[in-house]
Amino acid sequence: MPTVHFTDAQGAVRDVQGNAGDSVMETAVRNGVPGIVAECGGSLSCATCHVFVREDCVSQLPPMEDMEDEMLYGTAVDREDNSRLSCQLRLTDDIELFVTTPETQV
């Protein structure tokens, strides 16, 4: 089963089991993970599901498209090299992802 480990800005970790095909954002929201707002529900319009992906996990993820790249310039906490919008990250079977949520999303 895919698992996402969410670390918040204070360092608290929450492990959430997801379903293959769901996005990291959906997995977080359904389980009430704080730190993911996702106002637009995943339509790449709001940039409030920003996460930092642990470096060694980046290669497991689909490459970033232009729209996501541009939206990341509008995140509440400035983007880093390992920034992604979690609505664009789909879980695959047995993937294990480590992400950190920013201090604020809005």
């Binding site: 769901d22 959906e26 929201v29 359904r30 389980n31 009430g32 704080p34 707002v37 106002e39 637009c40 529900g41 339509s43 790449l44 319009s45 709001c46 940039a47 729209m67 541009e70 939206m71 310039y73 509008g74 809005v106």
Partner: protein, 441 residues
């Protein structure tokens, strides 16, 4: 007001179900604003039992995808569900589905009993109305034929989806967000789509002239037949005797033109659901009138989201100016205001209103409210398909409509949130990123 000692509801057993005799907060309306209110209250430490009641037979779900991804079949209904059942159970929020409240008896202290059409009663200490709005009906001949549809909730979307397979021609009435989103989806699904707009331009209320014109040209270029200043006179069924006699077959326009249509989708705006507020004697004027803490005129009931008529939350707006906003963003932000209010920590609404609408490959993002602008700056990059209009009032930026231009949208949204400006003259150079010319005053 203040937080009370942890009060677990005392319970009685009714049939197989255990019901609280008196919930701490009854939230009527289980859509975006109702869900957000419950979630925000728990985040703020509100520890009373919450009942989240909706009249649909679905778990609370997100609506925006209904006219887009859900209709096109690219997302499953399960992924529209806001929160897992486990989440609600863990957070002591009781979900009630399929109950329609018809009357409320309320005491001066804010407590009372809500009566459902089923006969069930829901006693509460405090009440929240997050009842949203309903589709405005088009009352013309043939309006009750099968295939004349509206799109407001999941059942509407399922009904529409079920008919698409047998349809070749669709007429969409209303060139607003819902109409254009659904029209784009149906066109993408291979249907001939005609959009009838009664007014002289598209998305009349929500965007400015330049944006409306851009959308008109863009949609026509993508294959939608859009007719402005046009209205339907009546809907007609098949003349031939047969099983389709009750199904819509055509739309007859005021000028006599007849357009074939196996589906007519009507999206001509919404009406706030103020019936319960009126029955309660609350002040109502294009929505439930609330103060800046989301409190209705009785001082105890909160009203949130599409149904609420509130003081304009935009910094710098005219004193006394009121507004009713229909948007996901407002449902969320206004619910937060109400949550602070209910927990005795009144905070003013400080969010910048924003909206989005995805239509075909056109991603519209609107930041701020453009009412009362005196200057616009157009930023258009034909080659990259980007288009933005910035709105100014007395030299200050107040809003922007951005199409496929997230950088512009984000720059304006952030500037507005921080009270900063983007000087109009500098913004005219399309090659300059707005972020780099944002100033402190």
């Amino acid at each position: 007001m203040g937080t009370h000692a942890a009060a677990q509801p005392t319970s009685v057993t009714a049939g197989a179900q255990t019901l609280p005799t008196r919930t701490g907060l009854l939230i009527i309306g289980a859509s975006q604003s109702g869900v957000q209110l419950a979630v925000s209250l728990r985040a703020l430490g509100f520890d009373e039992h919450i009942t989240l009641l909706g009249d649909e037979d679905h778990r609370p779900y997100q609506r925006p995808a209904l006219s887009k991804e859900f209709l096109q079949g690219t997302v499953e209904s399960e992924s529209l569900i806001f929160r897992s059942n486990e989440y609600w159970a863990e957070h002591n929020v009781e979900l009630v589905k399929g109950e329609y409240i018809v009357r409320i008896d309320k005491e001066a202290d804010g407590s009372g009993v809500a009566h459902a059409s089923s006969g069930r009663e829901f006693p509460f200490k405090r009440l929240a109305l997050t009842v949203g709005a309903r589709a405005r009906k088009l009352d013309i001949d043939g309006g009750d034929l099968d295939g004349v549809l509206y799109l407001r909730n999941a059942d509407d979307a399922l009904a529409l989806k079920a008919r698409v397979g047998n349809a070749t021609d669709v007429v969409v009435i209303g060139g607003g967000f819902i109409g254009l989103e659904a029209a784009s989806s149906l066109h993408k699904m291979g249907r001939n789509v005609t959009v009838l707009e009664f007014g002289p331009r598209l998305v009349g209320r929500a965007v400015g002239e330049e944006t409306a014109e851009y959308f008109l040209q863009a949609h026509r270029a993508r294959g939608l037949d859009i007719r402005l200043n046009t209205s339907a006179a009546r809907f007609t069924a098949n003349d031939a005797a047969g099983e389709n006699q009750n199904s819509v077959a055509a739309v007859e326009l005021q000028d006599g033109t007849v357009l074939p249509a196996q589906i007519v989708l009507i999206g001509i705006g919404v009406i706030p659901n103020t019936q319960l507020a009126e029955q309660l004697g609350l002040a109502v004027d294009n929505g439930v009138v609330v103060d800046r803490f989301a409190l209705a005129s009785d001082g105890t009931t909160v009203a949130v989201g599409d149904v609420a008529n509130m003081p304009n939350p935009v910094p710098g707006s005219e004193p006394g100016e009121r507004i009713r906003l229909e948007s996901v963003n407002n449902a969320i932000e206004h619910a937060k205001v109400a949550a602070y209010s209910l927990t005795g920590r009144r905070e003013e609404y400080a969010g910048i209103p924003w909206f989005w609408s995805n239509q075909a490959d056109l991603k519209l993002q609107i930041a701020g409210l453009c009412n009362g602008y005196d200057r616009t700056v157009l930023r258009r990059d034909e080659e990259r398909g980007k288009f933005s209009v910035l709105y100014y009032r007395q030299g200050r930026i107040i809003a922007a409509d951005c199409v496929n231009a997230p950088l512009d949208f984000m720059a304006v949204k952030n500037a507005l949130a921080k009270g900063r400006n983007i000087p109009a003259d500098a913004a005219e150079d399309t090659a300059t990123p707005l972020k780099t010319i944002t100033t402190d005053s």
